[in-house]
């Protein structure tokens, strides 16, 4: 590939880095959130609940420049995501450039808009892989959770993906409403010929946090689902790799979020804001740079936003003296802010966190078999109108 193209590799990434900078590895994973527009209305979407405030999407030229700068800085995996990336009619142009630069290119899609003509164009552009999302294995629940009639379309798209020879990751967000049907979800992935299946338990950010009491499964549900998943792994491990992501609320130590702040992952939002994770923009008092104003390498190595929570120097107690601090790096900064009100404290998933009770209270509520509708607010479906309503509520 063009990774050996000397023209690319000798291009100066940015100003020379200091000695300390050289200890920081490159932004290996580049995620481009091309748009927040999406035909689906999923109740667990991780796009920010105030996405309706974003209007000014980057132009094709902006995205092409981001690809070139990131590749020169050492990015190698490139994800095209959203919202629904198929809604950008320049997707094929961007994929072709990413391919030319030597990226491994991944398209993360709901399937809406991926017809035969565009599949052919993406194949010609050099797209390497497609991750297709389902919301459930049944039309009824898939269409209910996404608030669209998309189940049959997704099945057709899966056949299109396989007919073009792409490896396929099927992704299904798992939660209280579909976890009991995990066997049928795995059967669907087998039937459709997916090489990989991500059973990603919902993480409680953004829209999923709004809907948490509807979505958080009980401990019993999770244990059963893991058992069923392991049975399928034993039977079909050669055909399909199944990932099962446990909801971190059931852990007593936090996840090493994004494999470390500013460690491998760089996401660019539709308006060009560069973030160390999908949701970091929620953190107050942190200035995240925009790719319109700053080159990717400078953003990665020199910006305040990317350096603020790198490593362990920012930690307070109980993290600072914790023997496990290098292992989980204190967990997730967004979760610390959402649940404990301070982005620089321990992730409350950790049972050493003074705010751990917030997590156990949500978990306790999830153990009751019945959630009376009167106890909780109705499910909120992701969409521009709901987003504007939530923005207005926060303003008050």
């Amino acid at each position: 590939m063009n990774a050996t193209d000397p023209g690319l590799l000798t291009a100066p990434a940015s100003e020379p880095s200091s000695a300390a900078d050289r200890a920081i590895g490159p932004p290996l994973w580049l995620l481009l959130e091309l748009t927040y527009r999406c035909p689906l209305h999923c109740v667990f979407c991780y796009n920010p609940v105030d996405f309706a405030a974003t209007e000014n999407e980057l132009s094709t030229d902006d995205w092409l420049r981001v690809l070139r700068e990131a590749r020169a800085a050492g990015s190698v995996q490139c994800g095209f995501s959203g919202g629904e990336p198929m809604l950008r009619d320049d997707l094929e142009v961007l994929v072709a450039e990413a391919h030319r630069l030597g990226f491994y290119t991944n398209l993360l899609t709901s399937g809406v808009g991926l017809d035969e003509a565009r599949a052919r164009a993406l194949r010609e552009a050099g797209l390497d892989h497609i991750q297709l999302s389902f919301q459930d294995s049944t039309r009824e629940l898939n269409d209910f959770l996404s608030h669209t009639r998309t189940f049959e379309l997704k099945r057709r798209v899966a056949h299109t993906i396989k007919a073009h020879g792409w490896p396929m990751v099927m992704n299904c967000v798992i939660h209280r409403l579909n976890i009991d049907y995990i066997d049928q979800i795995i059967e669907l992935a087998l039937e459709l010929g997916a090489e990989y299946l991500e059973l990603a338990n919902s993480q409680y950010y953004s829209w999923a946090l709004v809907n948490r009491d509807h979505l958080l499964p009980s401990r019993e549900q999770i244990e059963l689902a893991e058992r069923v998943t392991n049975e399928y792994r034993a039977r079909f491990g050669e055909r399909i790799r199944i990932f099962f992501v446990v909801p971190d609320y059931y852990e007593t130590r936090p996840k090493k979020c994004m494999n470390g702040w500013g460690n491998v992952f760089l996401t660019v939002t539709p308006d060009g804001t560069a973030l160390p994770c999908h949701t970091a923009r929620m953190l107050p008092g942190l200035a995240f740079p925009n790719v319109r104003d700053m080159a990717v390498a400078r953003i990665w190595y020199d910006s305040e936003g990317f350096n603020r929570f790198r490593g362990t120097g920012w930690m307070k107690e109980p993290c600072r003296s914790c023997p496990e601090k290098e292992k989980d790096l204190g967990g997730c900064r967004c979760q610390a802010f959402m649940l404990a009100g301070d982005a620089a404290v321990a992730d409350p998933v950790c049972d050493k966190s003074p705010a751990h009770g917030v997590v156990t209270a949500a978990v306790e509520r999830a153990q009751s078999a019945e959630l009376r509708p009167s106890q909780i607010a109705p499910l909120v479906f992701r969409g521009p109108a709901e987003s504007k309503r939530l923005i207005a509520e926060r303003g008050r």
């Binding site: 590939m1 990774a3 050996t4 590799l9 590895g25 490159p26 290996l28 800085a73 050492g74 190698v76 995996q77 994800g79 030597g102 491994y104 991944n106 390497d128 892989h129 991750q131 490896p167 990751v169 090489e195 990989y196 050669e238």
Partner: protein, 93 residues
Amino acid sequence: MSAAVEVTSSTRPRVSPRFRLQWEEAQQSWVLLYPEGMVKLNGSAGEILKRCDGRRSVAELVAELEAAFSTQGLEDDVIGFLDVALHQHWIEV
């Protein structure tokens, strides 16, 4: 591909189409790329895998490596690595 298949000196391994082998200047290493993931290879793994083209036999591959690095007796190590690679589906035989 099953675990019963073994790598011998006459095997002609090739990198699996499920993976893309690529030199990464920024990491100064060979990597295997696959959907949403990457395996960073150490120096010897990279030298072995870049020669797995389906044409060279393991014996030829070993001879090339021994010549390139002015050494001898690499066959056991190479076969040991290729067994791991086969198990990981990085290569096909």
